[in-house]
């Protein structure tokens, strides 16, 4: 059962990340490939605070990590406000690669390429979360809260404002709404989701290293929301569950071992192409 539970925990963590990315990319339209970097910062901050000489417990660490990620996300999306969509793509790539370089080389802060082992299990209101089963409960609660928050926001005036900005930014500005503030708020919120996901990830694996937060991870996130479905809550859930399952399901296909791994990545790539050609709105989303 551990295997199934592990899969569910990771999928739910990625659901939070999916909500974050969907908010930023799908709804506001800021094309960011640096969400894995923010995820990483959340993970490292929580790890640090919980392993410090005077350790903090889980919930306060999570709050601080979320706050850091909010600030970071605002900073990271600032260039998008000055630079038009296409240029921002490359800037975003640059930010992600810069973050990976920092994670790998700043040994004092992140343990460098060795990573940070021995992260303690979280304690929620006095209850210590140790077994995978308890983790599933924690993550289900967290992701449920996240989905609820997302759903409420989208129904609120703020959500409608964000959609309007996506449709026609100039008209919204002309109507007297503060576009800049709306975008920045959305980015901040996305940061909070990502930071929480990072904290859960770090404590679940009890070991983090920079290679979990690199460009490939950011691209996986993008793929999740595009395949799952952009701009919708259902898409943010379907995408992570499906894409995490895919490599496991593909292992059932019988391929000679020497090329098996490359063959599976190949199938993965073909699926991406097929989706983009024939169903770009993903399984459960709206057209991007």
């Amino acid at each position: 059962m551990d295997f199934l539970y592990t899969y569910i925990v990771l999928a739910e963590i990625y659901v939070l990340l999916g909500l974050s990315t969907n908010l930023l990319v799908g709804i506001v339209g800021i094309f960011s490939v640096s969400q894995a970097a923010v995820f990483g910062v959340g993970a490292y901050v929580v790890a640090h605070l919980m392993m410090a000489a005077d350790p903090l417990s889980f919930i306060p660490s999570l709050v601080i990590a979320a706050a850091c990620c909010v600030a970071l996300n605002i900073l990271v999306t600032l260039p998008s406000l000055r630079v038009s969509g296409d240029y921002f793509v490359v800037t975003s790539f640059g930010i992600q690669l810069l973050a990976t370089a920092v994670f790998i080389n700043w040994t004092a802060g992140t343990g460098g390429a060795n990573g940070l082992p021995g992260i303690p299990p979280p304690d929620v209101f006095g209850l210590s979360i140790e077994t995978t089963q308890q983790y599933v409960m924690l993550c289900t609660a967290a992701s449920a809260l996240g989905c609820l928050a997302f759903w409420l926001i989208m129904r609120a005036p703020f959500g409608r404002l964000l959609r309007a900005i996506r449709e026609d930014e100039t008209a919204v500005a002309a109507a007297g709404k503060n576009v800049l503030r709306a975008k920045v708020s959305a980015a901040a919120l996305a940061g909070a989701f990502a930071g929480t996901a990072g904290g859960l990830y770090a404590t679940f694996l009890s070991f983090i290293d920079p290679f979990s937060f690199d460009l490939d991870a950011s691209i996986l996130l993008l793929t999740m929301i595009v395949v799952g479905g952009a701009r919708t809550l259902a898409g943010s859930i379907v995408g992570p569950f499906l894409l995490l399952a895919l490599p496991q399901v593909l292992t059932l296909v019988d391929i000679p071992t020497t090329i098996a791994a490359a063959a599976r990545q190949l199938i993965y790539g073909l699926l991406l192409i097929a989706f983009m050609l024939f169903r770009p709105q993903g399984l459960a989303g709206e057209r991007l």
Partner: protein, 287 residues
Amino acid sequence: MLALQLLVTGLVTGCALGVVAISFSLVYATAKIFHVAHAGIYTLGGYLAWSLMVWRVPLPLAFLLPIAACTALGALMQSQLYARLARRRATHLVVLIASLGTLSVIQNIIAAVYTPNILQFPLDWSSRMVAFGPVRLNWTQLLTIVVSVAAYAGTMWFAHRTILGKRIRAVASNPMLADITRLQPQTVYIYVIAIASALVCLPGILVPLDLGLQPYNGVTPLLTATIAMIAGGVGSITGAFVLSLVIAVLQNLSLLVMPGEWSIGVTFFIFVIFMLFRPTGLFAAAR
């Protein structure tokens, strides 16, 4: 002298990078596609050349046949994938992901067929050294400089002096107008990607000739080249080439003052600052 040798090695890397930047820029400026699969074509060119050399095909053919193959593959990608996506009015994100999927397919076919081991080209003369005073270069490095500069000059000539080149620039500057005035942008896009693929095959062969072949090694040069393209000003061939040289040299020289592992980080850091204060690039719109 350390600084001089680093400078010169940086120039060599920069030249190769420059051709990648120019070719990528051609596609991006004209068809507005973030064609990351370009890195796959770059990688494929090297491997095809290696196979041909292992089968003892005469050297000139071993260089030309991969170029032809890459050209064909690029044209195929445009006509079968990108053109279809454009017809369905796909957004940039969708095109990017399709391109990423294509890149993954190419890289993994290469990895499955050639194994992930680092492969060496079976040539004797490629690593023989030539000394220019205190600076030492091998023949491959020299060849890289010559070929890259020639590629740059050739592209400039093509863009400014030939009819096709001017047609490409026209389409790039105003696709909608081009559509109406029978410039046939879709055909132009195929030409552009074909030319770009042919160009990128050159460093695709020369760089691994010096450093060895690996299936997953195309992405970092592509990203650095993209930075050069944007910092130089999208649409400026000279900008892309010059900035590639600048970035490569800076990365090498930065070793004098800081540990090697930070040099890539610093590049991206400078780029991000650049984007905040001068997003249109140094040579913007100057073609």
